[in-house]
Amino acid sequence: MADLSTEFAGIKSPNPFWLASAPPTDKQYNVERAFEAGWGGVVWKTLGEDPAAVNVSSRYSATYDGFGNVAGFNNIELITDRTLEVNLREIEAVKKSWPDRALVVSLMVPCEEESWKKIVKQVEQTGADGLELNFGCPHGMPERGMGAAVGQVPEYVEMVTRWCKQYSTLPVIVKLTPNITDIRFSARAAHRGNADAVSLINTINSITGIDLDNMVARPIVDGKSTHGGYCGPAVKPIALNMVSEIARDPETKGLPISGIGGISNWRDAAEFISLGAGCVQVCTAAMIYGFRIVSEMKDGLSRWMDSKGYETLTDFQGLAIANTTDWKYLNMNYKVVASIDDEKCIGCGRCYIGCEDTSHQAIKAIAQTDGSNKFEVIEAECVGCNLCQITCPVENCITMVKQDSDKPYMNWTQDPRNPYRDAG
């Protein structure tokens, strides 16, 4: 079986599956249960200065798919609501019992040098493996000048990172907020501040839905609500993009990335790693299914690696980065056309109506004598947009077939149709 062990920013763990800083890592009891279940590491739920934060009730809400499964998750919880001292003692105890697992501690204190200096020293004494700076928490803490309020200002990110690196010998991971316009700016700032790694994404400002009977957003706190932090499968595409942006940015290329955002199974993890992540952090999936899911994640990842001949994670880490580029470098001479497998087609007509109403009128519906319809692609009209394939409920019924082209690779910067071609 493939070797899943990792060394991320100098922190070793037996597998790349860490639990993200969140409710599941708030105390010794949970973390030990997680380690027993096989998680490679945890990022302890964010510590702050005493007095400890106070949380409200209720705290979570969700969006669901058509079958009632959680698609997206949202919370308005703050950092740990237990005292710093209790947390530090528990961290120390856990690390002693589980020396082979990664134990990173998430931190958030006011933007003052003394505060950071003090807390990083305290954490270092617990024997923890690393620090994660929480510059992402989108609710509650920003109003107090912390969390996303810091993460949204690259200068602050750089400054606090620098302090932590100055006062601590531990690896420093900077957790980035996605609530910005361009993730590269905060990643570059972390890099300038000598961060050992970045982790992303933290949760996204969100309202999952409204209780239309009472006219209040969810989750509801005595008839009122506030925006929460969005996570779960729904945010994965956003997270993958941000990871790739950092991975292929010349300024941050090679900076270790811990991937976070909607990772629910081994395939999600493999995708983050293929875009350069050195380890992944999971939260929502564990909250919905419990810690036991890590066994399927580990097994699936190593079996897939075996099937591909990858012996270690580094064998495929970042392999998809080179194939992620800017739009202008895509091949203008490449063309695919939809093809419908009549044998597999069940006749639902979704491909037809989607294309007819909203795309390129490239599918014909041909009435059959038995009252059913046969659907046929009009190749000359098909732009290869994938819409029909996406709407088709039958696996492999519609495929996008590459068209032979005698034209060589030509991107938009070279395309004579580009009026600004010369400007490059």
Binding site: G66, G347, C348, G349, R350, A365, N373, E395
Partner: protein
């Protein structure tokens, strides 16, 4: 038990001692009622939510084409999935005002659900359209009637028969602004739904609830206990009303043409089912220990299964051809098998046996086979012992004949209508089982009633113009 006891299966007959000893002879009325609870329980909210998610919202959906009333099935399921139960129900009812009972009695396995593309998809299972339809119609809570009447037309139409075709026609005519007078021979409106459907398919007095709902639109007056030819005459109706719609169904039953057929223990299945459906206390019904049911349609299955539920020990359904030729759908045949009804095919009724005391003892069947596509007798025969025989060999039209009264032209034993449901008589239309269109399904009767109403409306408008 004496045969005379079996002969009059009325609710009034005290006959606790006639129950099969195999089933608890001391079944209380309430536990018997439990045996006649829903054959298929209604979907829960959660089940409906999950099931509705399975609909692919097909373009030009095959299920719509397979529904005789053309309900926009993908639309109602999409509404249901979005939590718009009233919208879903209205979509159903605007095509089929009896969408509630059809959801329960339709052979969906040969209609909408058979054509569902999910059958062809890897799941190999259709969306449970019938049960979703029931969910929508059961849970919709309209304020008032969901349909408004058009401005009064000043026209009055007589509808003969308050079964599915008659009620559907009456409702649509009322919607179009006409006044409708419905004449029904029985005490209650509802027709087949009230008197002829297996009790476990339409429970909790649903048939009457639905009648009340339909009449809720207003403009419809029901005269019960008025039979055509006895209390009302077609020629008078034609002069008194602007149009007449015949929805009289099939009242007569086919006979076996055998000796002893008039024995009191040889009964028409439809009569027994009617008694069963109307019984307020099932424990008072007379139930034979062993019975033979002759026929292969849904009525045969219905009577056989209900006899089993009532406590009959041995019920044998006998059919002269093979299973594939049976009128009952495969699904219905499965229900019979689940009820442990013995199905005997390739057997033609030959002799009814009555002993010297006048008791029915059994029946002899001639084994049959196909020879060059012709059903022929073989030299084999077999005797099946039974206490009662139930005939379910089909129903036929019975138009009351009277001197001097013009009747519509009959073709192949049914009222002949043109494509506009018009009979050979001026101002007289017909629809439902009494005509030769379709397979005599409730849902088809509803559709014919609706289309006939539109045709009547059209003809009245033309005459006015």
């Amino acid at each position: 038990m004496t045969t005379s006891n079996i002969a009059v299966p009325t609710a009034e007959t005290p006959s606790m001692d006639t129950h099969s000893p195999s089933l608890d002879t001391h079944l209380s009325p309430s536990s018997l009622d439990t045996l006649f609870s829903d054959l298929q329980p209604p979907l829960t909210d959660r089940q409906a939510a999950i099931e509705s998610a399975r609909c692919l919202y097909c373009y030009d959906a095959p299920c719509i084409k397979a529904c005789p009333t053309g309900i926009n099935i993908p639309s109602f399921i999409a509404s249901l999935h979005a939590g718009n139960v009233e919208g879903a129900a209205r979509t159903i009812l605007e095509s089929n005002i009896m969408g509630g009972s059809c959801a329960r009695v339709c052979p969906t396995e040969i209609l909408c659900e058979q054509s569902c593309v999910r059958n062809k998809e890897a799941e190999c299972a259709p969306v449970l359209i019938g049960r979703l339809q029931r969910y929508a119609t059961d849970h919709a809570s309209f304020t008032g009637h969901p349909f408004k009447r058009a401005e009064a037309s000043g026209k009055t139409i007589a509808v003969i028969g308050a079964g599915p075709a008659g009620l559907s026609c009456a409702h649509r005519l009322a919607m179009l602004g006409h006044e409708v007078e419905v004449f029904e021979a029985e005490d209650k409106a509802g027709g087949l739904n009230e008197y002829g459907i297996a009790r476990y398919k339409l429970t909790d007095n649903y048939a009457q609830q639905e009648v009340d709902f339909i009449l809720g639109i207003g403009g419809i007056t029901v005269h019960s206990g008025k039979a055509l030819g006895r209390d009302i005459q077609l020629d008078t109706l034609v002069t008194e009303f602007d149009a007449v719609f015949l929805a009289i169904g099939l009242q007569a039953t086919r006979q076996l043409q055998l000796d002893q057929e008039h024995h009191s223990a040889v009964m028409d299945a439809v009569d027994y089912i009617k008694t069963l459906r109307q019984a307020s206390d099932l424990s008072e019904l007379v139930v034979p220990q062993s019975a033979v049911v002759i026929g292969a349609g849904n009525t045969a299955i219905d009577i056989a299964c209900q006899l089993k539920r009532l406590g009959a020990e041995e019920v044998t359904l006998v059919y002269r051809r093979g299973e594939q030729d049976m009128g009952a759908t495969h699904h219905e045949q499965q229900i019979a098998k689940q009820h442990q009804v013995r199905i005997r095919t390739w057997s033609r009724p030959e002799t009814i046996h009555v002993d010297e005391n006048g008791h029915l003892t059994g029946m002899t069947f001639r084994r049959t086979e196909l020879q060059q596509n012709h059903l022929v007798d073989t030299h084999l025969s077999e005797q099946i012992a039974c206490e009662a025989i139930f005939k379910a060999v089909g129903q036929t039209l019975s138009l009351p004949e009277a001197d001097d009264v013009e009747l519509p032209v009959i073709q192949n034993g049914k009222i002949h209508v043109d494509e506009h449901f018009k009979t050979s008589m001026d101002k007289v239309f017909a629809g439902g089982d009494c005509t030769g269109i379709g397979q005599d399904l409730t849902v088809e009767a509803v559709q014919q009633g609706k289309l006939a109403a539109l045709a009547i409306h059209q003809s009245l408008c033309q005459k006015t113009a």
